[in-house]
């Protein structure tokens, strides 16, 4: 990255922090609504040092990862099936795109009826959320598989299975990664929303607990930690994606 970009990013962060601190100290807001950033930082430090926090973190991580894995797996497989024929693609498009743009949180009551009020319904929310980007990206990717690549393989007398393994699957890596990146983002959103609505543990639960007892600085601290986690997850996903795209052909 260019030095200048980095400098501008740092400046933006500093400006944001300055605005926050000025707002906190201005007395314009009802006391405690915007706590001083130092109070928040202090609270973040206490959270990171507190074993109770890790219990919540572990629950959220479990729900996000299990939901994401489940939703992505079903989504990737579903995308291949849907995208295999133009007919199935066209027939299912309005449902997939319709559902994809619906806020999944409205289905939380159903998921709670199905999987209980515990982590099951949160995993369900994560899976439900991650499913749509994956299935849509892979179905679109199937349509984008280059016909000339298939012809090249046929010209070299490739078998049907060889064409699937050596042309279709590698062509789908890029769309699958795109879908999974989006999927991870919405899985995190889905799980946290569900935790905030109704749960006994998890980062969303912790944040809403702080809110209920008006521990505003603590609430901000949890939100910022959650934000950092999401950024980290996204960066990690990007790394994995790059590695997959540029991996050598196995023997």
């Amino acid at each position: 990255m260019a030095r200048r970009t980095l400098a501008i990013r740092l400046a933006m962060l500093l400006a944001l922090w300055a605005v926050w601190e000025i707002a906190a100290r201005s007395g314009l807001f009802y006391e405690g609504i915007i706590p001083s950033s130092f109070l928040v930082l202090d609270s973040m430090g206490r959270h990171v040092g507190d074993p109770v926090f890790y219990g919540h973190l572990a629950r959220t991580l479990y729900e996000v990862l299990a939901g994401f894995a489940l939703g992505s797996a079903i989504g990737l497989a579903g995308g291949i099936v849907v995208g295999a024929h133009r007919f199935t693609d066209e027939a299912s498009a309005p449902y997939l795109h319709g559902f994809a743009s619906t806020p999944k949180i409205v289905f939380l009551p159903i998921l709670m009826l199905l999987f209980g009020a515990g982590p099951g319904s949160k995993v369900g929310m994560g899976a439900f959320s991650a499913f749509f980007p994956a299935v849509i990206a892979v179905a679109a990717g199937m349509a984008q598989v280059s016909p000339v690549h298939v012809k090249v393989a046929r010209g070299f007398n490739a078998s049907f299975l060889q064409i699937v393994r050596k042309i279709y699957l590698p062509s789908l890596v890029a769309p699958a990664i795109t879908g999974m990146r989006l999927g991870l983002g919405v899985a995190i959103i889905g799980v946290l929303l569900a935790e905030i609505k109704f749960s006994d543990r998890g980062l969303g639960h912790l944040a809403i607990q702080h809110y209920n007892f008006f521990r505003v600085a603590d609430m901000y601290a949890v939100l910022l930690l959650t934000f950092a986690l999401a950024v980290l997850a996204n960066a990690l996903m990007g790394r994995v994606g790059k590695a997959l795209l540029r991996r050598p052909v196995p023997a």
Binding site: V152, A158, L245
Partner: protein, 264 residues
């Protein structure tokens, strides 16, 4: 005869219910080690013929035979190079070139050793580990050619492989093609709409008519071998270009009139 195309015809059903005859009784032979070009205006059925000879499409009538054996299903003997971008972007140059060897079940060490030879042959040594998006268009098309050569086909069949490249790159790549052709004594059929390219490379040039595609004339290019692109400056070269254009002019005009009528 290495390649014998005999009486191939093909008619397509058009969307409005009418039918278009793309090829009408096309016959052509390519001798051992010969470089033959098939030239014709856009829409003369060149690409249809390419697909039929390559075995990707079935003709309505006629046969394609390699060394006297009619092709049915098995196309082991013909290696195709496509006009479109066809390298696999997820594979390195070396893995692209090794692709047909991988399909044939060769081990990693052996196929890489063999692939290296063809990478060198097209002048891409040093780029084995690069990915296609790190190469120029001309280098990508050379990768595709090396990949087909690694298949070691009896006949090399190319469909306007340089169509997307600029004129100067195309002429320079012509030199490369001639060098490879000499080295491998590769029997080659090139499909093209570029007159200069056809004369620069070929022993014989077959001119096709516009719709339905027929072989109008076959011109022997009696220019000395080995050739380099410098030959373009010679009077003889110009005479051949002129001769072919005389044949093609009428066909290309018909094609253009047709295209203008359908867009009107």
């Amino acid at each position: 005869m290495p390649l014998r195309v005999a009486g191939v015809s093909k008619t397509f059903a058009a969307s409005d219910g009418a039918s278009v005859q793309a090829l009408d009784d096309v016959s052509l032979e390519v001798r051992d080690g010969e470089f033959v070009s098939l030239i014709g205006p856009s829409g003369c059925g060149k690409s249809t013929l390419f697909q039929i000879i390559g075995g990707l499409l079935q003709g309505d009538r006629g046969t394609v035979a390699v060394d006297g054996n009619a092709l049915n299903g098995s196309r082991r003997d013909i290696g195709m190079v496509f006009q479109e971008e066809s390298t696999f972007p997820w594979r390195t140059v070396l893995d692209n070139v090794a692709f047909p060897l991988e399909l044939a079940g060769l081990g990693k060490a052996e196929r890489e050793e063999r692939a290296r030879r063809f990478v060198r042959l097209v002048g891409l040594d040093g780029f084995e580990r690069k990915f296609p998006d790190e190469l120029s268009g001309g280098m990508r098309q050379r990768t595709a050619i090396a990949r087909t050569l690694a298949f070691e086909p009896r006949i090399l069949l190319m469909d306007e492989p340089f169509a997307s490249l600029d004129e100067q790159t195309r002429i320079l790549l012509g030199d490369k093609i001639l060098q490879i052709w000499r080295e491998l004594k590769q029997t080659t059929l090139l499909i093209t709409h570029n007159i200069t390219e056809a004369v620069q490379l070929s022993d014989r040039v077959a001119v096709m008519t516009y719709r339905p595609g027929r072989i109008k004339r076959i011109v022997e290019i009696d220019l000395p071998r080995p050739r380099s692109s410098e030959i373009i400056a010679s009077a003889e070269f110009g005479r051949y270009v002129g001769l072919l254009w005389q044949d093609l002019r009428e066909e290309a005009s018909r094609g253009m009139a047709d295209a203008e009528r359908t867009t009107a």
